[in-house]
Symmetry: C2
């Protein structure tokens, strides 16, 4: 009777260990920078031996790929939640304070800025980012299309591309703005976001 439980438990345990490594990697990337963080620093932070880490990830590149996947999974989960709301477009606008807080909070697991800089030099990372974004866009786009159709708004492909790219730019850029201006007024920027999101989603 125990066998099926064990089969379920082991992958779960491996998954937990993997997540433990990714959490540690996030801490090390933030502290030392993407390049300087070594496998040995990450293993120390995770409280594992370097040898043990190599059971789960065979290189820093592999950790980075898993990071990109984990981030995409997180976004997909949020989009599933958004899709279940009564009025997803209005919900995005109403949730502006949450989006702003999330992107200004450097402590959450997010893609470090350096990963994008690195993508310009490392085709494997570039490919991982592109693949993850296709998954996210393929989930996001039909929600926006359906809800705009329901409202009788234009839904041609070029328009949807432009609206989505502009919104995603806003999300990415807010993390940078938060670094540039740590004294940024959250209440004010939430209002700016509401204005821009309303125009992009509901016109």
């Amino acid at each position: 009777m125990n066998a099926p439980v064990k089969r379920r438990t082991d992958p779960e345990r491996a998954q937990n260990r993997r997540n433990q490594v990714l959490q540690a990697a996030a801490v090390c990337f933030a502290r030392s920078g993407f390049h300087a963080a070594s496998m040995s620093e990450i293993s120390k932070e995770a409280g594992m031996s370097a040898g043990h880490i190599y059971n789960y990830f065979d290189s820093k590149d592999a950790i980075i790929m898993a990071f990109v996947d984990l981030h995409a999974e997180d976004v997909l989960m949020q989009l599933g939640e958004l899709d279940s709301r009564d009025d997803p477009l209005q919900a995005m606008i109403d949730d502006a304070p949450l989006h702003v807080d999330k992107h200004l909070d450097g402590k959450k697991i997010d893609l470090p800025l350096e990963m994008f800089a690195e993508a310009a030099r490392n085709p494997k990372i570039a490919e991982a980012l592109r693949t993850a974004d296709y998954k996210v866009s393929n989930r996001f786009r039909p929600i926006i299309k359906r809800e705009r159709e329901r409202r009788g708004l234009a839904v041609d492909d070029a328009l949807l591309d432009g609206r989505i790219d502009t919104m995603v730019s806003m999300f990415h850029g807010l993390s940078i703005r938060g670094i540039q201006r740590p004294d940024l007024n959250r209440t004010s920027i939430v209002e700016g976001w509401r204005v821009a999101l309303t125009a992009l989603l509901l016109t």
Copy 2:
């Protein structure tokens, strides 16, 4: 008769040499990354001896500070140009294709993404970015305020902060979006930008 000419020429020559180093540094940051680019790599790229570079910059940090200043000067010049237009707010919207091209073009001298990541760890860089942004904001804000007043639109401080922070986020984020999606459709995103900028500037 030559003395005054020489006094004018020498600082000019030094300035040219400094710019030559900054151009070389931009190439090295893009190629090797912000951390890995060394003073010796930068001097090789600039076609100068390492000793000669130290006449102009005493450390990589000093090059970075000069980079931040140069970028702020460039933005201030663009804002001066914007200020001289007949209708600066409408000009910003009409110029959306130029803004989009500029931020998708990684080759121009811009602040590398890694600089923002580094600012979270290096208080000197954080301070330089903040100081540069104050200069830029102090030039940008009165233009928007004056032109909104002229149109009878709201100009309270919180509103202006939020609109500016949202626009700056869009600018920053577009560089990231361009890395994430190299196949991004420029015509579509220009339309998205027009929609967002119109709402942020003219409502």
